[in-house]
């Protein structure tokens, strides 16, 4: 019985009570159409034991430019008695925007017939899980309802858009003993000249430095080239609720997730060992790994993460940096809140090489900010405070990228890494 049936009962009792109070039979007769309407509803209501519905869900994912659309079709088949009035509905999941179709479908089903709830939603990233669909069978007047949850499971993961960057000129403090693309600062096989040493038996003859050998009788010299190896790269992504800004359907974390996906792709393509930590609720860790499998792990982790607030994870200072191999290159992607600067001395103390990518929250929120004087003044103060924080980080020899999310990130990273390389050389 729903609120409509209750409203009818209220009217019927009201009229009967009024009839008793004023001793007027006509008022009681007035209740008759209401009573008949309710009675027809009760008689036509389907018995629960006669309702047999089966639901099946199919989900199709279509990738577009910058976002993904997902087609959802739920087919409900009537395997029991006829249903005069069937209503199917389900809520739109968080992070999804309805493009076409409806989340509600009404139907009348004869035995063996089926109906479809069909809709398409758009999203940029996320994991969407369905377990059931809500079905309400009722009489044709919609008064006596029987609610059911029909199992219709499906799951779809929408990974962030993957932009392909050109390889970055990385200079790692320490490299791993595998061939890669990062200069390892030690002699071996490579392409860049490294130095000359005395010949050891077993050295290939093509590496002999004939000019030097000619100048030193009875001595042989071998040319060495700078070894190119791989490095450990760690990514720390800030998924705290307090640093995430939302502007309509766009949120700052989605930009961070896209940047992380693109960076991890380019680092893995260069052959490096990449790990990732998403600092939020829940805390997501992807331990060091190589190749496409690792890229898939990272993308899935990014799809599953969403910015959330939790008191215990509010401070960036407590990030478990020990999960990253020592002397890794750590890329921190965070808009930074006040006091977050404490993380960076700690990272440097552990011997990590750090790069900070800091999306500008004020630029992101510019459209939403009102132009009145107090707001402008407050924004200016907050900007200054942020610049001071970034300058403190930069003083630790950490390249800082002050990123306006509307700008392409790749040239900024290239520039920052080049600058850091020149500083190291000096």
């Amino acid at each position: 019985m729903n609120s409509r049936a209750l409203a009818l009962i209220l009217v019927i009792f009201g009229l009967l009570l009024a009839a008793l109070l004023v001793h007027q039979g006509a008022l009681a007769w007035m209740a008759l159409p209401f009573l008949a309407y309710l009675g027809v509803g009760v008689v036509q209501a389907p018995a629960r034991s006669n309702i047999r519905l089966r639901a099946a869900r199919s989900v199709e994912l279509r990738r577009g430019q910058g976002d993904t659309s997902v087609d959802v079709v739920v087919t409900v088949e009537n395997q029991g008695a006829a249903i005069d009035h069937l209503s199917l509905s389900e809520p739109l999941q968080t992070g999804a925007r309805l493009l076409t179709g409806r989340l509600h479908q009404a139907a009348a089903l004869l035995p063996g017939e089926e109906t479809k709830l069909n809709y398409t939603f758009q999203t940029v990233r996320g994991t969407f899980t369905w377990k059931e669909i809500r079905a309400v069978a009722s009489d044709s007047l919609g008064l006596i309802e029987t609610e059911m949850k029909l199992p219709a499971e499906a799951r779809v993961e929408v990974t962030p858009e993957l932009r392909r960057y050109r390889p970055f000129p990385l200079q790692a403090q320490r490299t791993l003993p595998s061939t890669g693309s990062i200069p390892a600062r030690r002699g071996g096989s490579g392409t860049n000249f490294w130095g000359v040493r005395e010949y050891h038996p077993g050295d290939p003859l093509r590496r002999l430095d004939w000019r030097l050998t000619a100048r030193h009788p009875r001595q042989f010299f071998t040319k060495e080239f700078e070894q190119e190896a791989i490095a450990d790269v760690g990514l720390i992504v800030d998924a705290r609720g307090k640093t995430n800004l939302r502007r309509g359907e766009d949120c700052l974390f989605d930009h961070l997730a896209r940047a992380t996906a693109a960076l991890s792709e380019v680092f893995l393509r260069q052959g490096n060992r990449v790990s990732m930590l998403v600092w939020g609720e829940p805390l997501i860790t992807v331990f060091p790994g190589y190749g496409k499998v690792q890229l898939n792990r990272i993308l899935r982790a990014l799809a599953n993460s969403s910015p959330a607030s939790d008191g215990s994870l509010d401070d960036l200072h407590f990030v478990p940096v020990q999960m990253f191999p020592s002397h890794s290159l750590i890329v921190v992607l965070s808009p930074l809140a006040s006091n977050d600067g404490q993380l960076f001395p700690r990272l440097r103390a552990y011997g990590y090489q750090v790069l900070l990518i800091c999306p500008d929250p004020f630029d992101f929120a510019q459209i939403a900010l009102s132009g009145d004087q107090p707001t402008q003044l407050a924004t200016r103060l907050a900007r200054l405070e942020r610049q001071v924080e970034l300058a403190k980080v930069a003083r630790l020899w950490i390249p800082v990228i002050d990123w306006r999310v509307s700008q392409p990130l790749s040239p900024l990273v290239r520039q920052a890494l080049g600058r850091a390389h020149r500083q190291l050389k000096r």
């Binding site: 009217v11 004023v22 159409p33 309407y37 008689v43 139907a107 009348a108 044709s140």
Partner: protein, 160 residues
């Protein structure tokens, strides 16, 4: 959909006409603007929940009966208010983008059920105006108790 929209518009108008005619027939001229107010509430309050509108319309009809208006006008007035209430709910349930085939099938079934409920009930209620039954209070209480105690059995019989 056109039929649905037309009926949704026509029911409150017919309801207001019946109420106004009932008040006018009893010489209660103050009730005529009240009936017009009922129509205005239905018309301009299309976005409101229809239940308060139904309760308001039935109250106006009941007050008219108490004030001496003819039951032959007030009964159709209240019944048409019920039909208007039903159509308002029905319209919001179906929405605007329902497939035409499904919509016409659902509508046919729904209108048949509404007609099945309201037309005989209205006729019986109208006929009831001419019936004069004297039921002793004791018998009435006994019938009410029997109905109350047998309700679950009736329900089981209906569902079975």
């Amino acid at each position: 959909m056109a039929t649905r929209k037309l009926l949704k518009l026509a029911c409150p108008i017919a309801c207001a006409i019946c109420l106004a005619a009932g008040y006018a027939s009893a010489g209660q001229w103050l009730g005529v603007p009240l009936a017009a107010l009922v129509w205005a509430a239905w018309y301009f309050g299309a976005k409101w929940p229809p239940t308060p509108l139904l309760i308001g319309s039935v109250t106006v009809a009941a007050v008219g009966l108490v004030a001496g208006a003819s039951a032959l006008w007030m009964l159709p007035g209240a019944t048409l208010a019920l039909a208007g209430w039903d159509l308002a709910h029905w319209d919001s349930f179906l929405g605007d983008d329902m497939p035409a085939e499904v919509e016409s099938r659902l509508e046919r079934k729904h209108y048949a059920s509404v007609a099945l409920a309201l037309v005989p009930a209205l006729l019986v209620a109208a006929a009831g105006q001419f019936l004069r039954l004297q039921i002793p209070f004791g018998v009435l209480v006994a019938v009410a108790l029997a109905a109350l105690l047998g309700l679950d059995r009736i329900w089981g019989w209906v569902k079975g």
